[in-house]
């Protein structure tokens, strides 16, 4: 069981956390919504909740609530550039199908 970050993603998360000046790590998760059922959640974490699963990847602490984990276990988080746009990308092996934009998905 793990969530991992690519080198690119890790260095960006660390830079963003440093600029923000506070936070214990990165919280990833899912919630139900969107056109294909589930949507990713990507937030700064200011505190670890007791039920959280905690992973460490390339120096970044990643927090996932147990409910979310079953949908995104094995996910690799990447940071990429597409034209002028740049941001984080979830490479989730469990995804069966996703909406055209990839913002919501199904497992």
């Amino acid at each position: 069981m793990a969530i991992t970050l690519t080198e690119q993603a890790a260095s960006h998360v660390q830079a963003f956390l440093a600029r923000r000046g506070k936070g214990v790590g990165l919280r990833v998760g899912v919630r139900t919504s969107g056109c294909s059922g589930l949507a990713y959640k990507l937030e700064f974490a200011d505190a670890v909740n007791p039920e959280d699963h905690t992973f460490e990847s390339r120096g970044v602490k990643v927090l996932v609530d147990p409910k979310s984990l079953q949908f995104i276990d094995g996910t690799e988080l990447d940071y990429t550039r597409e034209g002028l746009n740049e941001g984080f990308k979830f490479r989730n092996p469990r995804v069966k199908d996703q909406c055209g934009c990839g913002e919501s998905f199904n497992v």
Binding site: C35, E43, N85, G87, K89
Partner: protein
């Protein structure tokens, strides 16, 4: 898939509901757009990585519009149709525009604000500004991967109602949801995080390309207030280039130069100025059209000497603003540097000397206003938890008042009042049996209406006939958070009311705005066509490539006549591909599709046959 950004805890947006917000610094010389991504404010660069967009718009006779570097490149060859520094004309009548005679434009004195006749028709400053905003909007949407929820646009602190309204109109015309206008010095202070700092009074020293603004901000209980503004609208970094240019002309003993040589030498002068920020000496080398070569070298000391009057010129307004606010330099807790020209060491030194403290300069002075605007936009769009919300207070730069008998201006809201603000005053009738009153809203510090700026006029009718002085008419001035004014007059005994939103007489009439909106809709149609054309081209190209590779492999499957038909269809499509006719491309694509249908089927059969070859039926 979509690219995600990190949100604040509990602030993740639902899919397709990202509240993308940007801050826009709509500058006299350059404009920028910035956003907050994963908690960090960043300026969005164009495809070539350039953060600045020169605030220059060029109109072509066929309706095409160039904005930015492309327009800048043609500034000298097409000056009449290439509008620079349009910000100086925003919300201004022809009479208000300083140095009209120096500008190369064909001005039209329209009833609203001054307009410029270009090859593409008469354009108002609002339209020109909206072209700049449109480019920034497109850049932001490409960078953020979605439609913008809103934008904060910055304006100089001294902008009056008409100029603010014009800026807002330009945003609307560009299809932006203007969350609010923000004073440039306030944006710079936000970028430096001063709203989190301890309370106190700060100065913002903004030396841009062509303008100098000095603002004094007061921060109290997390609220910013602009307490005084001052500056020089005809002083900026360009003047420093000019000084170097004049020095070079003198040193090289040049006779009057042609426009091309002048431009070149001016450009080299600017480069030398920028080089001197980090070096002790800078070369100025230009080959003139006569074949002569100017080869000079300027050192820091000379540069400081020839520009010291300019540096000193900026200090006068600093002292004036302090005097206006009733402050001394000892009251100032920090000085924020804004504008590329503040990189010059002699400016840094002069400011540090005057304020007896080192100025804040660790953010890029070109970007600091846009960054602050982006941070404010991020809050207004709802991407920050509410406890981090901060409210910004601004002041009215010029007093607002009303004309009274004898052409006198009665001030209702004095200048430097914080906004939003509402104030009321009672007026009465002048003559027996007077049933109507006429209100003339003015802005300015002078006593005579004739010396103030006229903002709007409206009438209150239906006052019951009474003796002079018996009617009681309450006039309320209300200024909203954007600095826009509405005025209401109400007669006490009957309750009849009249009101007006300024919509200053120097702003745009509704009809004008409607016309421009209509035009933008018309352009929307062209945009749709352009998109269809591009899509058809992509489809066609894909089919052509597929056909060519299929022919390369399986040409043998076609009879000579069939092959000829396919090749003809390929040629026909290739011919229309480069033309701008979406329908022709679509038709030729469909034709090629039909011509290759049979071919595709045969290839499929062939493929199956190959796959099955050598296998026994039973093993299938």
């Amino acid at each position: 898939m979509a690219l995600l950004q990190i949100s604040e805890p509990g602030m993740s947006a639902a899919p397709h509901e990202h509240r993308l917000a940007v801050g826009i610094d709509l500058g006299t010389t350059n404009s920028l757009v910035a956003t907050v991504r994963s908690g960090v404010a960043t300026v969005l660069a164009d495809e070539l990585g350039r953060p600045l967009l020169p605030s220059i718009v060029r109109y072509h006779a066929d309706g095409r519009v160039d904005v930015g570097y492309a327009a800048q490149a043609k500034q000298a060859v097409d000056p009449k149709n290439t509008i620079v520094s349009v910000k100086r004309f925003m919300g201004r009548g022809l009479r208000d525009v300083a140095h009209v005679e120096n500008a190369p434009y064909d001005f039209v004195d329209a009833p609203g604000m001054v307009q410029v006749r270009t090859a593409a028709g008469v354009k108002s400053p609002v339209e020109v500004s909206s072209e700049i905003l449109k480019v920034l909007k497109l850049r932001a949407e490409a960078s953020l991967g979605g439609e913008l929820a809103g934008a904060v646009i910055t304006v100089p602190a001294y902008f009056d109602d008409a100029q603010r309204q014009a800026t807002k109109d330009a945003g609307k015309l560009a299809g932006l949801n203007v969350l609010r206008l923000l004073n440039e010095p306030t944006a710079a202070a936000i970028a430096y995080g001063l709203e989190n700092a301890s309370e106190g009074i700060y100065a913002v020293y903004d030396l841009g390309g062509g303008t100098f603004d000095l603002s004094i901000l007061k921060l109290a209980r997390g609220v910013f207030e602009v307490v005084a503004t001052s500056g020089d609208s005809m002083l900026g970094g360009d003047d420093f280039d000019q000084r170097v240019f004049c020095w070079a002309v003198e040193q090289a003993k040049l006779s009057p130069l042609g426009p091309r040589d002048m431009r070149q030498l001016l450009m080299k002068s600017r480069e030398a100025k920028e080089y001197l920020t980090y070096h002790g000496e800078a070369p100025i080398t230009v080959r003139l059209s006569s074949g002569d070569v100017v080869d000079l070298s300027i050192d820091t000391e000379t540069f400081c000497n020839i520009t010291q009057t300019l540096v000193r010129k900026t200090l006068g307004p600093v002292r004036k603003a302090l005097r206006d606010a009733g402050l001394t330099v000892d009251d100032i807790k920090g000085v924020v540097m804004v504008g590329g020209a503040t990189r010059m060491p002699q400016i840094q030194r002069a400011v540090a000397e005057l304020f007896r403290r080192d100025p804040l300069n660790n953010l890029d002075p070109d970007k600091v206003v846009a960054l602050g605007a982006a941070m404010q936009a991020n809050v207004l769009a709802g991407n920050q938890p509410t406890d981090q919300d901060w409210l910004l207070l601004d002041v009215i730069p010029l007093s607002l008042g009303i004309e009274t008998m004898g052409g006198l201006a009665e001030k209702i809201i004095p200048r430097n009042t914080t906004i939003p603000a509402a104030k009321a005053q009672e007026f009465t009738t002048f003559k027996d049996g007077q049933t109507a009153m006429s209100f003339h809203v003015v802005q300015g510090e002078r006593e005579l209406v004739a010396d103030c700026r006229s903002l709007a006029r409206f009438d209150l009718r239906g006052i019951p006939p009474m003796a002079a002085g018996a009617a009681r008419v309450r006039v309320t001035f209300q200024v909203d958070a954007d600095g826009l004014l509405s005025v209401t007059a109400r007669e006490a005994s009957t309750g009849i009311e009249a009101s007006i939103t300024v919509k200053p007489s120097y702003g745009l009439s509704d009809a004008e705005i409607e016309r421009m909106l209509r035009e933008s809709f018309e352009h929307a149609k062209e945009d749709v066509h352009a998109r269809a054309l591009a899509e058809h081209r992509v489809d066609a190209q894909r089919l052509l490539d597929a056909t060519r590779s299929a022919l390369a492999v399986d040409r043998a499957l076609l009879a000579p006549r069939e092959l000829e038909a396919v090749e003809n269809a390929v040629r026909a499509l290739e011919q229309v591909l480069t033309a701008n006719d979406a329908r022709a491309i679509k038709q030729a694509t469909d034709a090629l599709n039909r011509a290759t249908e049979e071919f595709a089927e045969r290839r499929m059969d062939e493929g199956i046959k190959r796959a099955l070859a050598g296998k026994k039926i039973g093993s299938l």
